[in-house]
Subunit: 227 residues, 2 copies
Amino acid sequence: MGMNDNIQIHMDEYLPLRDVVFKTLRQGILTGELKPGERLMEIHLATRLGVSRTPIREAIRMLELEGLVTMIPRRGAEVAQITEKNLRDVLEVRRALDALAVELACERITGEEKQALADACEEFERATGSKDAKVITQADVKLHDIIVTAARNERLTKLVNDMSEQMYRYRFEYIKDETKHQSLIEEHRIIYRSIVECDKQTASEAIKTHIDNQEKSIINQIYARQA
Amino acid sequence: MGMNDNIQIHMDEYLPLRDVVFKTLRQGILTGELKPGERLMEIHLATRLGVSRTPIREAIRMLELEGLVTMIPRRGAEVAQITEKNLRDVLEVRRALDALAVELACERITGEEKQALADACEEFERATGSKDAKVITQADVKLHDIIVTAARNERLTKLVNDMSEQMYRYRFEYIKDETKHQSLIEEHRIIYRSIVECDKQTASEAIKTHIDNQEKSIINQIYARQA
DNA sequence: ATACAATCCTTTGTATACAAAATGCAGAGA
DNA sequence: TCTCTGCATTTTGTATACAAAGGATTGTAT
């Protein structure tokens, strides 16, 4: 030992092309670069990304299962339509899962994590000062990450992360709205305090409010865009 | 209209090979035919199922995202290990989602569905009399299907179905245990009644108890198998 | 001008071929 | 006997080739 620790080979840098393609397409869809309804044609994507059709196809299979693309038999894939119903469905589920996460976190959070959570709250407050949506978003993500991690449930973590990512583009817009910042800070504080005090009831209510506010904002955005 | 209705071509019979392979492998894993830790080698599977490697690979990508197989870089896929932690995680989430489902069902269930639910309850009672685990399981699935459908949330439906399927093999064993039948019937009745009466609180508690009982049984089974 | 039909072209679905990495085994040396 | 090294085999990762289905376009007939 000792020597091996220095080697520090980034052996884990290897990623199959399918995963690269998967992440790329996913990113494209979530940021809106690839628009809903847009067809995903294999040769097209393959030449564009400089790979063959095989990794593209495998990536599409993954996106399909995540619900980000819709398959039409013998016609191929297209970026899934986002309907209002669809979003409400996702948020409805996410609300329940986030509530579960904070309740579990109340029971299982460690001392270190409590500290990390406190730090993350402060960090978020500072980030709102920066007026940089990206920084704020990162702080927000960090905070929520600590909570779901503290829930000690891998399946839950994966689900919550998947669902948050689906709202990526909307969350970004939401966080740009500075009038919401103060209430966000307040919500985070309540969540933090109730988790530390192991007050499941309050924590769960607070996170539900948190999601509900996001929902309202997102629904507004949809109408705004349509108009 | 009229004429076209008669044609009734089963045009939708077409399924890409990848989906056939997917379903086959999935079934194999869930029934325990393919055991945890078993390697899934592509050529092997391909010759066995009489197809080429391509559909096999695409099916594996899907299974991977469902968490049924684990990928080891440059080594391929193997059937995911089922740990006790893993099962507890799934059940913990399922508990919350099922609770959400009944609560939503309380609000949204239609008159027809109420009738269907009543029928399904009776059907289940009759099924327990048959002593045929398969028949009983079917009746149980039917009942739960009606509930999640009544929740009117497609995302939720998909998640709940996925999670139930993951416990397929255990559920089967559970339902074989005749000593549990009476309490199962009782639980179903409570759930049914509270949904009809739109009593979310009771419905949610009842379904949670329902899942908790399943959990106990499953954990017991695991210890029994290990011993 | 419109409707219908044949044909071509695009695109997916599937199979196969080739390259690179990893594993296992055997043999040589200490 | 044990270990290390090198080779052979296996298996994945990626690319390409071929077939069939769908859609579009063009031409023709009414």
